[in-house]
C-alpha cells in the first residue's frame, strides 16, 4: 500500500477536528431540546449557557482550526508534489494547539468559562480558558508560516511556474489568518488574561469588543476559504470538468484576503462606542466582500457546466443532469452553493447599516451563520474528508451511499433548523436564551418554528453520526486505492501567470495599510479619551 507523505500529521489534525465536532453536535441537540422546552426539567441555565459556550468555541475555533491545518498540509503535499520541510515544525504547532484546546475545553466543560465564544467581558472566565484559546491561535500560526514557507520554497525550485490554485488559496488563507487572529490575540494577552488573573483591575469593554470585531468577520473567511478551494480545485476535476478561469479564481481569493479583515465593525453596528462614520466605512467594505463570493459562484457553476457538457449534456439545462451527482464531493458542492445563496441574502440584511437593527442579536443571526458556516463551509469539510481519506489512508471510502445520504441529511437538517430561526428572529426572539419565559403575546407564532428547530437539530445529529461512522469504517477497509492527486486543469490556462496573481508580497502590504485605515483610529480612540474600565463579573 502506498503511503502519502505527511499522512500522520494530516490525519492527526483531522481527527482532533472531527472528534471535538462530535462532542459539539451532541451539545447542539441538547440546546435545541432545552430551548424548545419539551423537557421542562432540562431547562437549567447553568447547563445551557455552558453548553452554548462549549458548542461555539469547539465549532468556531477547534473544528475549523484543526480541519484547516489538516487541509493545508494535504493541499501543500499534493498540489506542490513536495514533502513537508521540517515536519517537527508542524507537529509543534499541532501540540501547542491541542494543549490549548484541552485547557480551554476543561474549563468549558466544568462550567468555568460560560462566557460564549465571543468572550463577552465583563463576564469573566477562568484564566486557563483564555490562555488555552491563545495557545490554540499560536499553534495555528506555526501552520500558517509553514504554508507560506512551503509555497516560497516551491517557487524557488520552480521559477516562472504558476503556483497551483489549491496551494495559492491555502497560502492566501494562512496570511488572512495571521492578520485576522491578531485582534483576538491582543484582546486576550493585554486585556482578558491579565484581568482574569487579577493583574489588572478593570478592562475597557469597548476596546475589548473592538479588538474582537477585528477577528470576528475575517475568521468567517478563514473557515470559508477551504470550502471555496474545494469548489475551485477539486469539484470541477471530480465532476470531469475544468476550472473555468484560473485568473478570476485568484482575483477572488485575493479580494477575500485583502477586504475581509478591516470590515468587522458591522458586528458593532448596535454598539454605542464607535462613531457612525466608521460603521459606514466598514459597511462599504462588507458589501464589496460579497463580490468575490459572487464571482466564485459563477466560476464553480461554469466548471460544473463544462463537466456536464463534456459528459454529453445538451441544451441550456441538459448539462445539469449529466453532472455526476453520485460523487459526494460534487453533490456537496451544489448543496453548499445553494446554502450560500440563502445565507448570502440574509447576510445582506445583516450587513445593511440601517436594516441591522431589525435582526441584531435575534435568532435570525444564529440562523444566518449556521447557514453560512455550518451549512456552506462544513458540508465542504465533509466532502473534502470523503475525498481525501482514501488518498491519505490508501483505503477506499467505506460507503459512498452513506456519504451521499449524509450530505443530503445535512442539507435538509440545516434548512429545517435555520429557516425557522430566521423567522423567529424577525418575530423578535433573542438568540442565546435557555428558555422563553415571556408573556404569551411575545411568544406568538414561536411554537411551530421551535418544532422545526428541534427536528432540524435531530436530523443534523443523525447526519454527523453517519459521517463519523463512515470515516471510522474507512480505516478498517481492506480495499486499497492509490493516493493519486492531480491539480485541476483550466479551460484557458495562462501562459505565464502575472506575478501579482502568483504571490502575496504586494497584497500583504495592502492589507496592512487597509487595516490601519479601518482599525487605526477606532482602536486608538480608547487611549485618547477618558474611559472607565469594568471589574470582572461572574455569570
Amino acid at each position: 500500500m502506498e503511503k502519502m507523505h505527511g499522512k500522520n500529521l494530516i490525519l492527526a489534525n483531522m481527527w482532533v477536528a472531527f472528534t471535538f465536532f462530535m462532542v459539539a453536535i451532541l451539545l447542539g441537540v441538547f440546546q435545541v431540546l432545552s430551548r424548545a422546552g419539551y423537557v421542562p426539567g432540562l431547562q437549567i441555565p447553568e447547563l445551557y449557557f455552558g453548553s452554548v459556550s462549549t458548542h461555539g468555541v469547539i465549532m468556531g475555533f477547534v473544528l475549523t482550526t484543526f480541519a484547516i491545518m489538516g487541509f493545508g498540509y494535504f493541499a501543500a503535499v499534493n498540489s506542490l508534489k513536495m514533502n513537508i520541510p521540517h515536519k517537527w515544525f508542524g507537529w509543534t504547532g499541532f501540540i501547542i494547539a491541542l494543549t490549548g484546546t484541552l485547557m480551554a475545553a476543561s474549563m468549558l466543560l466544568s462550567g468555568q468559562a460560560s462566557v460564549m465564544y465571543t468572550f463577552y467581558p465583563p463576564l469573566k472566565a477562568h484564566p486557563l480558558f483564555y490562555a488555552g484559546a491563545a495557545l490554540l491561535v499560536v499553534g495555528s500560526w506555526f501552520w500558517a508560516f509553514h504554508m507560506i514557507w512551503m509555497m516560497n520554497k516551491w517557487k524557488k525550485e520552480n521559477p516562472g511556474e504558476t503556483v497551483p490554485i489549491l496551494m495559492f488559496g491555502t497560502v492566501a488563507n494562512a496570511i488572512l489568518w495571521l492578520f485576522t487572529s491578531l485582534g483576538v490575540t491582543l484582546e486576550i494577552l493585554f486585556l482578558l488574561l491579565p484581568w482574569s488573573l487579577g493583574w489588572i483591575e478593570t478592562v475597557d469593554v469597548g476596546l475589548g469588543r473592538t479588538l474582537f470585531s477585528w477577528t470576528l468577520h475575517a475568521i468567517v473567511y478563514f473557515w470559508l476559504i477551504p470550502a471555496y478551494l474545494v469548489l475551485y480545485a477539486i469539484v470541477p476535476k471530480e465532476a470531469g470538468g475544468k476550472l473555468f478561469c484560473d485568473e478570476m479564481a485568484r482575483i477572488s481569493l485575493i479580494m477575500l484576503m485583502v477586504i475581509s479583515v478591516p470590515i468587522g465593525m458591522h458586528h458593532l453596528y448596535m454598539d454605542p462606542f464607535q462613531a457612525a462614520g466608521w460603521k459606514l466605512v466598514h459597511m462599504v467594505g462588507t458589501l464589496l466582500v460579497a463580490l468575490p463570493t459572487l464571482f466564485t459562484g459563477f466560476t464553480v457553476l461554469a466548471g460544473l457546466e463544462i463537466a456536464g457538457r463534456l459528459a454529453g449534456g445538451r441544451g441550456p439545462f441538459g448539462w445539469f443532469f449529466a453532472v455526476p451527482w453520485g460523487k459526494p464531493v460534487v453533490l456537496a458542492g451544489m448543496l453548499s452553493l445553494l446554502m450560500l445563496t440563502f445565507g448570502g441574502f440574509g447576510g445582506l440584511v445583516n450587513a445593511s447599516y440601517s436594516l441591522n437593527a431589525l435582526v441584531h442579536n435575534t435568532q435570525w443571526i444564529t440562523g444566518h451563520f449556521h447557514l453560512i458556516f455550518a451549512g456552506t463551509s462544513i458540508i465542504m469539510y465533509f466532502a473534502f474528508a470523503y475525498y481525501m481519506w482514501p488518498k491519505v489512508t490508501g483505503k477506499e471510502l467505506f460507503s459512498t451511499k452513506i456519504a451521499l445520504w449524509q450530505l443530503w441529511l445535512w442539507f435538509i437538517g440545516m434548512l429545517t433548523l435555520t429557516l425557522p430561526w430566521h423567522y423567529l428572529g424577525m418575530l423578535g426572539q433573542p438568540r442565546r436564551i435557555s428558555s422563553s419565559p415571556y408573556p404569551e403575546v411575545v411568544r406568538e407564532g414561536w411554537a411551530l418554528q421551535e418544532l422545526g428547530m428541534f427536528i432540524g437539530g435531530v436530523i443534523l445529529m443523525v447526519s454527523a453520526v453517519l459521517f463519523i461512522y463512515n470515516l471510522l469504517r474507512t480505516h478498517g477497509n481492506t480495499i486499497s486505492v492509490a493516493p493519486a492527486f492531480n491539480n485541476v486543469e483550466c479551460l484557458n490556462p495562462a501562459a505565464r501567470m502575472p506575478a501579482l496573481l502568483n504571490g502575496f508580497g504586494f497584497w500583504t502590504v495592502l492589507i496592512f495599510f487597509y487595516l490601519i485605515v479601518g482599525y487605526g483610529y477606532p482602536v486608538l480612540q480608547f487611549f485618547l479619551m477618558e474611559t472607565h474600565g469594568v471589574e470582572p463579573w461572574g455569570i
Partner: protein, 159 residues
C-alpha cells in the same frame, strides 16, 4: 490575462449591484440621517447610581420643552428600570440607557428600536413610533444566568 465575455458581464453586473446597494444605504445614512445607534460617550458604570443622570430618582420618561420626550433607563441584571414606560406616538423620543454591571441588549420587537448597552458607555437611540400599542423590551444579549427573564413593557399611547 484571459477573462471570458460572459464572465466580464457577470463581474460588471455584480459590481454595479454592490455599488447600488452601497449607494442606497449611503443615501439613507447621509441624506435621511438614518444611522445605527452610535454614541461615543463614557460613564463610570460602578458609580452609575451616584450619577446625576442615571440615579434612581431621575429615571423614566420626561417631556422636553420642545415637545419631544427623553427616556432615561438603566439596564441591569435582570430588568430594565423603570420596568414599565409609556411614550406618546408620533413624537421624537430620545432614549438614554446605561448598565451598572455587564452587557445587555435592548430590543423592542415590532418597532426596530434597539441598541447594545455596554458598561462604561452611554447608549443613545432616537426614534419616533408610528403606531400605538403594547410592546415589550427584551434583553437580547447574554448577561448571566437570569438573562431569559430580562424583559419589560413599553406602551405607546396617543399623543
Amino acid at each position: 490575462m484571459h477573462i471570458d465575455k460572459l464572465e466580464k458581464f457577470w463581474i460588471w453586473l455584480t459590481t454595479i449591484t454592490a455599488f447600488a446597494a452601497t449607494g442606497v444605504l449611503g443615501f439613507y445614512a447621509l441624506h435621511l440621517n438614518i444611522h445605527p445607534p452610535s454614541n461615543v460617550e463614557t460613564i463610570d458604570s460602578s458609580r452609575l447610581h451616584l450619577s446625576k443622570e442615571f440615579n434612581e430618582n431621575n429615571l423614566g420618561v420626561k417631556k422636553n420643552a420642545d415637545g419631544s420626550v427623553t427616556v432615561t433607563l438603566v439596564a441591569a441584571r435582570y430588568g430594565f428600570f423603570p420596568s414599565h414606560i409609556k411614550v406618546p406616538a408620533n413624537t421624537p423620543v430620545k432614549l438614554r440607557i446605561a448598565s451598572p454591571d455587564v452587557l445587555h441588549g435592548f430590543h423592542v420587537p415590532g418597532l426596530n428600536f434597539a441598541t447594545m448597552v455596554i458598561p462604561g458607555y452611554v447608549s443613545e437611540v432616537h426614534a419616533k413610533f408610528p403606531k400605538t400599542g403594547e410592546f415589550f423590551l427584551l434583553c437580547n444579549e447574554f448577561c448571566g444566568l437570569g438573562h431569559d427573564h430580562m424583559w419589560s413593557k413599553l406602551t405607546v399611547t396617543n399623543k
